[in-house]
Symmetry: none
Subunit: 289 residues, 2 copies
DNA sequence: TAGCAGTTAGAATTTTTATTTCACTAGTTG
DNA sequence: CAACTAGTGAAATAAAAATTCTAACTGCTA
């Protein structure tokens, strides 16, 4: 069956249906058309604003291929298909009364009343952005460098973080392993948390993550690790936190909070930064030799 | 003094300056040019998307008049001026190619060389902020609402996300339980992933989270879930992702990426928003009774 | 009311853009 | 392995859009 034959029927009338069509038929498209498909899905703005030649160049394809693509999906030609993208842009583009819209939005978000999912999401996104800004200004350069040194100097890194902190802990373990650092996640599967933590020796590093209300198990592990003379980095929300006192290095993270619900964005961002910095550091030292 | 003479100098470099110029010189323009000026100020979108002929017709003027207008303000021709409007549209339109932008951003930030941990962290924080901004503009209202409905309507929610996606999955499971929704994390402990997933019935919901390179196990679970006729929400990075096709609802999330290392910020923010929106929804219905 | 500067509409031209065609490649089938 | 087929790139062609040009119009002044 040729592409031409495939084309016959469809010709989507809205961008959404076109998107659906593309996704559905993606597999059966030829390599070049798949290339176009990908670009089309990811750069609708270009489709609306640029000429065929430009689009073609950007997907590394001949202009004629774009035309073929359009015909495959039932359009007269590429221009015909472009109309859809232009329409889409018009309907969702900030119209001249943009300012008015912003005003309405913030009013809406501020009032406790109507809370459509979208409002919630915007509120979260905004709070998280604030939290990240705060992170940038509050974490001290020296602390980051020390943390990287501690990771680099450790034989292995053990990570503990339960309940709400678990995602951060699991991310940290995953990422460290990916940059070839031995990392063990103390996850307490089968109630073996205490047992898992006895593995720590004085050459290891424990990264403990805990926020209010601090999980008792995490606090305990920090305590017993201290006795084994391993080093400890704490990621927590206050210097007074029960895991802070016993730690060699404390990162105090204020994460976003929207109506009771705490976020993890800033903590995760810190975790990422530590791992990547460590990776860069290793690379540098490697080259240094 | 002729219009031609007036033209000499200017040629505004940004839309804002052009707008200023137009307003300032409006009085001294000829009637036809005033007509164009009015239209230009009020319909910037048309200027970006339409051809001269269309614009001309809409301001009830000859195409050549538009060209004269552009020259009056110091441009080579009308096309030249149109570029401005296109640019403007690109920068302030919800840009799906934020992914590209984020990538460029980090490439740029990285090229500088100096890679102190603090620089890394700032880079991450900034990329994450971009990703969150993008999230705000790219996730559609209707999709969020549908997702909340699906969660509300499900007997139980099963969540799968492996490797890099695991933190998001574990957070979702944790948070859903906290708002009293039955949630099971398919974590594959003891290699029981397949067994865990057979628990799903047609009244349940599966939330699958997977990013490139898509974990084979996740793809499999989505497939078998489909067969069991349960509903599926996918959180993934492309409509072409292997878990997208079988899903009832797809969230396409472009997370920040700094030198190979993908972030999870946007995905987590979406997860949070879903859970909290669900909680609000429950509360509202509860009060309704 | 003749003459003039500035403006305009519309046709003519040039340039750009889209589409079609064709020749070539690689892969498949009998 | 020959004959086909789908897919592709590149050049040729067609279409369209933008720009320029010219003749005619407007309102003003002498």
């Amino acid at each position: 069956m040729t592409l031409r034959e495939l084309a016959v029927a469809s010709s989507a009338k809205t961008l959404e249906t076109l998107r659906g069509d593309i996704v559905r038929r993606y597999e059966e498209l030829s390599p070049r058309l798949q290339q176009v498909a990908k670009y089309v899905l990811e750069n609708p703005n270009d489709m609306a604003l640029q000429t065929l030649a430009v689009i073609a160049e950007r997907c590394e394809v001949q202009p004629s291929t774009i035309v073929r693509f359009a015909k495959t999906f039932g359009y007269e030609g590429a221009s015909d298909m472009q109309e859809l993208f232009k329409d889409e842009m018009l309907t969702q583009a900030p119209s001249p009364s943009y300012a008015e819209r912003i005003r309405q939005f913030s009013r809406r978000a501020g009032a406790a009343g109507a809370l459509a999912p979208q409002d919630v999401m915007h509120e979260f996104a905004d709070s998280n952005i604030l939290a990240l800004e705060h992170l940038k200004s509050s974490v001290r350069k020296a602390d980051l460098e020390r943390a990287v040194d501690m990771i680099a100097g450790a034989n292995a890194v053990y990570i503990v973080g339960l309940r709400r902190s678990f995602p951060v802990a699991s991310y940290l373990a995953y990422a460290l392993r990916h940059v070839d650092k031995r990392a063990y996640l103390l996850d307490g599967v089968a109630g073996m948390l205490a047992e898992q933590s006895t593995m720590l020796t004085s050459k290891d590093l424990l990264i403990a993550i805990s926020f209010q209300p601090y999980a008792a198990e995490t606090v305990e592990i920090v305590g017993s690790t201290r006795e084994q003379k391993a080093r400890i980095i704490a990621i927590t929300d206050s210097r007074l936190s029960p895991i802070a006192a016993a730690s060699d290095l404390v990162f105090e993270i204020k994460d976003a909070e929207v109506r009771q619900f705490r976020s993890l964005t800033a903590s995760l961002c810190l975790a990422q930064s530590l791992v990547i910095s460590y990776a860069f550091d290793m690379e540098k030292r490697g080259r240094g030799r």
